[in-house]
């Protein structure tokens, strides 16, 4: 045959997203870091039974002063280690559910506006702009102030304030991709709108979406920390932001009280960014290996 014919090699296959992810160092490091935090969050109740907000020790113990409280205690004698473990639970839960809400709303709005365009698209984008003109942190504060500062309301507030970012991104991707030849091909083959959106366009729009999601989770953790810092978070729930907020008053005498929860936040945000970068590479079919 001609040069265009592949050599008759034994059947090979392209590696899966998972294998591509596993040989990506930044994804591996990010995933490991995140797994550590998740384990800590899950085991918080076993490792530190009882309420982390209880006063259990001498106030203002420095880390290492008392082996029973190896990260020290705050001005009220609360165990910092227990706070960080239980705080991981609260922070991650709020961040994950807020991001889920934001991706669901934003993805739906963006996909509809980008794929169909026209009047519907215009209306949806105006709606998007209404949300974008309000400073998002202010919006979160307003929503939380109206409702009760429970975990669910906070997640909803953060989700509602951040979906326009997702919607704009998804819309831009969809607008470009809906004109692609392979989409025209799918339409000429008789595929319906939902099949085209889900199977043709979405997989190609996924990479930027995944990266944004990892940034959104990080942002949600920070917003929740900001709320707690202002004292607007759930007072009965340990969270890193609340620890930061209360530790701020002792920053001169006990800087570890702000540094430790701060480090925890940095750790998670870094893990998510690394994982997002890795996922971006792994989702790129061009970087995937062919195994003969």
């Amino acid at each position: 045959m001609t040069t265009a014919v592949l050599p008759n090699a034994p059947t090979g296959y392209s590696e899966s997203v998972w294998t591509a992810l596993l040989r990506n160092p930044s994804a591996l490091i990010g995933a490991t870091m995140l797994a550590l935090v998740l384990t800590l969050a899950l085991l918080a109740g076993t490792l530190y039974p009882g309420d982390p907000l209880d006063m259990v020790a001498m106030p203002m113990l420095w880390p290492g002063d008392d082996p029973g409280y190896f990260l020290g205690s705050d001005s009220l004698g609360r165990d910092v280690a227990a706070g960080i473990a239980h705080g991981a639970r609260g922070s991650l839960l709020i961040a994950a559910s807020a991001t889920l809400i934001s991706v669901l709303i934003g993805g739906l709005v963006g996909a509809l506006a980008g794929y169909h365009g026209g009047k519907l698209g215009d209306v949806l984008m105006r709606l998007c702009e209404v949300f974008q003109t309000v400073p998002s942190f202010l919006l979160v504060i307003v929503i939380v102030a109206i409702g009760n500062p429970t975990l669910g309301v906070i997640a909803l507030a953060i989700g509602i304030s951040s979906w326009p970012t997702v919607a704009r991104l998804v819309r831009a991707e969809f607008r470009t991709l809906r004109e692609a030849d392979f989409v025209t091909a799918a339409r000429s083959l008789g595929f319906g709108n939902s099949a085209i959106i889900l199977r043709e366009i979405l997989p190609n729009a996924l990479a930027p979406l995944v990266v944004t999601t990892s940034i959104l989770i990080a942002q949600a953790i920070l917003v929740e920390a900001g709320l707690a810092f202002l004292g607007m978070s759930d007072p009965n729930q340990a969270s890193w932001g609340a620890m930061l907020g209360s530790g701020r008053e002792q920053i001169a005498s006990g800087w570890y009280l702000t540094a430790l929860p701060g480090l925890a936040i940095i750790f998670v945000v870094l893990a998510l960014n690394l994982l997002g970068d890795g996922l971006n590479d792994a989702l790129n079919p061009r970087l995937r290996r062919y195994i003969p």
Binding site: T2, L6, G12, D181, F182, A186, P285
Partner: protein, 568 residues
């Protein structure tokens, strides 16, 4: 001393060699053509000469420009040569101009960088340059943005920028590939004239031997980074020695070709790469195997019948009362320049765009009346092959899933039968069965086009709309794909509507040719008739514009064509 003397140039990326031991010279006032298919190293050579290669490229050998070795020159000196003594023209005139600056700003910026002119003088020179490249309204164009100009005019602007500082070496990398046929000829003529007037050495890089025949003094044929043959143009075209050059010449469909699919196959180049051995080249026979000779269509009742079709976007009308027919087992060629409505027509025929008025009948049924089940059944019978093999396949799906999804959508429930059908269609389009597990980016352009054809054929359609199926491909790949389409027509009894801007391809492939201008069909004839006695002036213009057409030899222009002083 030669203007350019390249000695043993080597370029490699990571561990792959892009250019291997290339040597040539170029004199002032001479045109040298580098010819080869994509990936042969011709563009890499151009970028190496201009000093534009990315950082991970490793260079070896010598490139002497007026006696000075460019490869060891300090970057500062090198930059002074770029854009002044050396000019370069890129393939795509749209992406090589900055869309947010006016054309005047872009041209005068070059002059301000490399000369001592004041802003006002630079603006004046820019106007003179625009006159020199024969833009219709030089003064007005200076204040316009790139998107206000047509493709050919943009390429003239790019040329004006390249010659702004009177370069001694001009490198043109596929300067006409992105342009319409009629515009191509004008641009090539302009380049030839400017080369004479300014006494430049012109390095013309192209995949199209038709371009070379008219405009180059000498040719270097490249493949896999090697120079296979380096001869004077006339010599090469009349007596090609290397089998690869011979194959390229035979596969290229110039203006003078008299080939037609009913009488012969197109020549295919056979390249056998073997590790540790020299690559072997051959040309496959152009004769049909006994019994495989294609038969002419019999003129049965029309399969597709379009009457008075009008359609458009918004307020503009793109197709204006078009009527055409495609018979059973017939290949109908549709020719026209970009923007004439070819693509709109194919989208309307596939019912992706609604028709404003007029009817499209397929096998006696009006397709506008089809709904749900019957629409899906009709879609099975009409398929499309796309121009750009890179854009037409979803990069995230393997070949298997691309084909399988289509099969399942159209109600093929038995997985075993689906697999058999996939194997059969891959065999038919000449791809290995092991291709199923691969992703589109792991294939070459020609192979991808085969996947696109397989996707169109998996449903066993009756009519295939080919929208420029070979215009994004190399000459030799083009021959393979055209041969394949002819074979498939015989095997499966297909009808084709073959849309192209390239008259010489359509001449080979079509039983009947329609010529389209601005949304209307202006002429309809057999290839023979069209070639010998075109009736419509537009058809005559298209024919005259094919590279290699017997155009009147342009008289040598006097040097006085240069209106501005030399030596600023």
């Amino acid at each position: 001393m030669s203007l350019l003397d390249v000695r043993g140039l080597r370029v490699s990326y990571d561990n792959a060699d892009a250019v291997k031991d290339l040597s040539f010279t170029l004199q002032a006032g001479e045109t040298l053509a580098l010819v080869g298919e994509s990936g042969c190293g011709k563009s890499t050579t151009a970028l190496a000469l201009m000093g534009l290669l990315p950082d991970n490229a490793r260079l070896g050998g010598q490139v002497l420009f007026e006696g000075r070795d460019l490869l060891v020159m300090p970057p500062r000196q090198r930059r002074q040569l770029q854009g002044s003594a050396q000019g370069m023209i890129f393939q795509d005139p749209l992406s090589s101009l900055n869309p947010v600056l006016t054309l005047g700003e872009q041209v005068s910026e070059i002059l301000l960088t490399h000369t001592d002119l004041t802003r006002r003088q630079a603006w004046q020179r820019a106007e003179e340059l625009f006159a020199l490249v024969q833009l219709p309204r030089p003064a007005a164009h200076l204040r316009e943005y790139p998107q206000h100009l047509s493709g050919g005019q943009r390429q003239r602007v790019v040329i004006a920028m390249a010659i702004a500082c009177q370069p001694r070496l001009l490198i043109a990398d596929e300067p006409t590939t992105a342009l319409d046929v009629s515009v191509q000829a004008q641009i090539l003529e302009l380049l030839a004239r400017l080369r004479g007037e300014l006494g430049m050495g012109l390095l013309l890089i192209t995949h199209d031997l038709g371009v070379v025949g008219q405009h180059a003094d000498r040719v270097i044929v490249m493949h896999d980074g090697h120079a296979l043959e380096s001869r004077s143009t006339r010599d090469l075209i009349e007596h090609p020695q290397h089998p690869y050059s011979r194959g390229l010449l035979q596969a290229s469909l110039g203006a003078e070709h008299k080939q037609h699919y009913l009488s012969n196959r197109l020549a295919e180049i056979n390249v056998e790469r073997q590790p540790e051995q020299a690559t072997r080249y051959g040309v496959k026979s152009t004769l049909y195997a006994p019994g495989r000779q294609p038969r002419a269509p019999t003129g049965n009742p029309a399969l597709l019948k379009v009457s008075d079709l009008t359609t458009g976007y918004g307020n503009s009308t793109v197709l204006d009362r078009i009527s055409l027919e495609v018979g059973e087992r017939e290949s109908v060629g549709l020719v026209g320049e970009s923007g004439c409505g070819k693509s709109t027509l194919s989208r309307t025929l596939l019912r992706l765009l609604p028709a404003r008025s007029g009817t499209i009948e397929f096998d006696g049924r009006d397709i506008a009346s089809l709904k749900d089940e019957s629409l899906l059944g009709w879609r099975r019978q009409v398929q499309m092959i796309f121009q750009d093999p890179y854009a037409a396949l979803n990069p995230r799906h393997s070949v298997e899933s691309i084909l399988d999804r289509v099969q399942r959508l159209h109600g093929q429930t038995d997985p075993g039968q689906r697999q058999q059908a996939r194997f059969a269609v891959l065999d038919a389009v000449g791809l290995a069965r092991s291709s199923l597990a691969r992703l589109p980016h792991q294939f070459s352009g020609g192979q991808r086009q085969r996947i696109g054809i397989a996707r169109a054929l998996i449903l066993k359609p009756r009519l295939v709309i080919c929208d420029e199926p070979v215009s994004a491909l190399d000459v030799s790949t083009q021959a393979q794909i055209l041969n394949l389409l002819v074979e498939l027509r015989e095997e499966l009894g297909l009808s084709y509507l073959f849309i192209s801007h390239d008259l010489s391809v359509v001449r080979y492939f079509a039983d009947r040719i329609l010529v389209m201008e601005q949304g209307q069909i202006v002429e309809q004839a057999t290839p023979q008739t069209l070639w010998h006695s075109p009736r419509h002036p537009y058809t005559r213009r298209l024919l005259a514009a094919i590279p290699g057409a017997a155009a009147p030899e342009p008289a040598p222009q006097p040097v006085s064509g240069l209106r501005f002083a030399v030596g600023w």
